[in-house]
Amino acid sequence: MEIKKTFSIKGMHCASCVNLLEDALGKVDGVLQANVNLATTKATVVYDSEKVTDKHLESAVSSVGYQAMVSEELKSEDEEKKEKQKELDDLRVRVGVSLFLGALILWGSFPGLIKTSPLVLQNFLVQLLLATPVQFWAGWSFYRATVSALRHQTANMDTLVVIGTTVAYGYSAFIAVFPNVVMGIGIEPMPYFDVATIIIGLILLGRYFEAKAKAGTSEAIKKLIGLQAKTARVIRDGKEIDLPISEVEIGDSIRVRPGEKIPVDGTIIEGESSIDESMVTGESIPTDKTKGDVVVGATMNKAGSFIFRATKVGQETMLAQIIKLVQEAQGSKAPIQRLADLVSSYFVPVVLMLAILTFVVWYVFGSNQALTYAILNMVAVLIIACPCAMGLATPTAIMVGTGKGAEHGILIKDAESLETAHKINTIIFDKTGTLTKGKPEVTDIVSFGSMSKDELLSLAGSIEKGSEHSLAEAIVKAAEEKELALSKAEGFKAIPGHGVEATVDGKRVVFGNKRLMDKEGIDMGGARNEIDTMEDGGKTVMMISMEGRLVGLIAVADIIKESAREGLVALQKLGIEVAMITGDNERTANAIGRSLGITRILAEVLPDQKEAEVRKIQAEGKVVAMVGDGINDAPALAPANVGIAMGSGTDVAIEAADITLINKDLKSVAVAIVLSKKTMRTIRLNLFWAFGYNIVLIPVAMGVLYPFFGILLNPIFASVAMATSSISVVANSLLLKRKKIV
């Protein structure tokens, strides 16, 4: 496939570098076109992705003495950070200057302070001189944004600030230059430079804190990116070399020593160790891993040393997939946000109209000093309106919520899933592989004759060795674990739905269920009670007969996961009804359900009927979550209001799932719901605050309380309220980080 890629090159300084680099890149087999731009220090290469990798491009560039920055992801993160820091530094200077000059003007003009100030500060022209740089230098960004927005016939918060402060500044400048003219029309010459300058200073200060706080909302992603190991100790041609992680290829053998980070995903081929995966999967207890086990990149090797083969590198690793998923979730829109979106698209024009109305009403109906009041109240209306708080209310909480989920091994696909999860009142768990381990194990062996339990297991293992049934697998595994010698079975015959028969050491052995024993006419006599008790406990019982006589029983059961009981109790505490769905017969299903405290059991449901069962429960008016492994249950996960998949291996992007629990912990189902509830509470509080603030304070700024209580809002206080309102919304979202969800 033909691909075009642009990347930065470090070390370029002259036009000759361009030719050198173009030649070097052009010589790489598979590169179709290479252009290098000196002005941007960037190379754009068109190549065949089947022949050329990032590594080829990097080595071609380094062969002529430069460095290619092909991994754009890290670069853009870095760039973003630098750009933001520059912005913050610039803001800090503007805030400092405008508040300092504003304070001087305030000192020279505020009624209570004026007597203590030097005469020079009381001079209107000096105040004009001090206010001008604040208005047009510190406030330049407001003007620039306003002009750009007006060109698009849109208006935003900057438009409001520009109109508000320009009116205050312009009116004051006129008074400063022509005080006599103003006096001539019966108005006391009182400039309001302090209003214009302090408003600009405070709003810039608000932006400074808001930018700092906002950076905290995307911290989870930064933390995840920071987990990535930088180098890997790769064994190539018998030598161990430290390579940057971007150069590791699939199939490489990599050595990991005690205390080191595992660089990429892979499978252990030599050695064993205990591995702490909590940073990536949220799984709290270190796991012992040995040859053949899967290791996850960016997790921490504790004690042992081992070699593993890389199976996933670059964007395919589990960590990269998690980062991508969280980024997508943070970019998605929650349904609750739509109202805020709708309001904010009309908000600023409406505030502008209200400001004009305020001016007209105060001018027409105001008594003395009507013009001054009309101007000050109009400015207060323009300044107090805060559309930003509405815009920030939902996305900041979603960003913190999804990030917090990822830290606990709960990956939420999008904001809508996070929003829906808080309404869940019924959860259906798939049994096999979700509530249980999904792999049957031998639980009981009962002998009725002279044979020992091990001899019975060895006998059963000998004849089941040739069978492919999952129960047979459990028996052979149990025999192998005990290192029992297996004999050769002759004349093996599988009787579908019943069991197997064969001849072992010259004796005819039949191994299977009750139906098979009845068919063979074998007397089960006193064993019946034992069989019934075991079957009531959810176990599958198989009988062994030798030469027509019952010699023993072997019971096999699918073991319930350790986290299942606690997980279900946590859900019941949240008032959520729990149901279990399984293809098992009713007796086994009931036994497992009973031991887990589940009362609603949907047994004997074939895989293709699970979807219909989910819809049936939804038809009862329930909001349903379906929990499954995400592979066999995919059709049932899709119609559920929220599909929750238990993670398996290193694949996290399970298509049908709205939420993926990569920590494989059933307790996380309740944690995800609690997280959703807390996030929604934060969003509601944010929206209530953002809407309430504007709905209450805009009329106050207009002066509706004046006729009753004589209350008016000073524009300076309006700017304090405005600056704090968006910060408070972001801060409230950040509080979600500290809330306990486990």
């Binding site: 750009s148 927005a149 060109r151 849109t154 979106d341 007209v360 930003c388 509405m390």
Partner: protein, 117 residues
Amino acid sequence: MDKIIVTIIGFLGIAFTYWFFLMKKDKEVAVTDSIDIVVDGGYSPEVISIPKDKTIKLNFIRKDPSGCLEEVVLGDFSVRKYLPLNKKVTIELTPHQSGEFIYSCGMGMFHGKILVR
């Protein structure tokens, strides 16, 4: 007399504000492959139409230093991207559903529209 003039000018101002901001007509630009969207006090072009089931590249170039526009959020497509100043950021979309999708800046103040047909 001055009160009457202020009232008339005021109401004309309100009418103008309504007409200028709320009655503007969106000019639609049809995109077949890729398009550069300039981010400067809004999005130019503001309304684009793209075909269903086809991958389209939207190249955002931010020229406006305002913090408001530093991120673009295409919520319906699960995309939130930081836009560095004066740099092209490409977002690829392959919409499988037709309809009208609004995208916005990080604070939801500036909007653009994608019509999928």
